[in-house]
Point group: C2
Chain length 145, copies 2
């Protein structure tokens, strides 16, 4: 595995989260695979069923970003493997967002999501084919053990 | 994409769930990638953080299978793509299991998990490198819409 490949995959992964943080649908659209790969694009938002196809996935991001006034990611446990023109990135998304619940309107809230991100190299560029994010439950209990 | 490849990947995917249904750790061990790929093996059980490495992943399966008296999977929404020696399978795991809660001891319970399974072809055999399963929440609400 070449270090240059690893670095480029991790750049593409960082761009995915930067696009979300900035609520930038153009950047988000550029992150995801297109053309012949569009029908195989897939995305699982935490707690959601799978969304299939580039169009449906980008529509969900437009909706989510429109409803997220503030979000910031600190990625930990980043692990990247490259197999030819495919790359698998896993990471923990440590999230800071705005808590608009009745208890703390406008306050900051947090959470932890574990993510599986699968990239394809298409014409020299790493594009996101598949994202699966899921909530880590009972983390507090685990920490106590 | 060759139909023969697709069929073999889907066989490997079915064998993963059959191993679990049968509580057979030897079959489960044969499903997962080994040798040089062992450190890159990864598994997210629903609600759990990522487990990394073949040994840790198989230890979790031994524990889960020992604590699962009965489980059956009906897989739906199966989608498979093969890219060279990598293959991505997504599916919905519709689960029937035994509910040992106080409300219904010994009764049957169900649930829906969305799964991302990434396979590698190693010496002609498709082996599971990465599994990510997560609960689908608020499905009832979605159905009402």
């Amino acid at each position: 595995m070449k270090q240059a490949d690893l670095a480029k995959v991790e750049e593409a992964n960082a761009e995915f989260y930067a696009a979300f943080e900035n609520g930038d649908l153009d950047r988000m659209s550029a992150v995801w695979a297109d053309g012949p790969h569009a029908p195989n694009v897939g995305c699982v938002h935490p707690g959601w069923p799978l969304l299939r196809g580039r169009e449906e996935v980008l529509r969900s991001w437009a909706l989510i970003m429109a409803n997220t006034p503030y979000i910031q990611f600190v990625l930990t446990d980043l692990h990247t493997v490259v197999y030819g023109d495919q790359a698998l990135v896993t990471c923990s998304e440590n999230i800071i967002t705005v808590d608009d619940s009745a208890d703390a309107p406008g306050g900051l809230a947090g959470g932890s999501i574990v993510a599986t991100n699968l990239f394809l190299r298409v014409e020299g560029r790493w594009r996101l084919l598949h994202h699966h994010g899921s909530p880590v439950l009972n983390q507090a209990e685990d920490d106590e053990e």
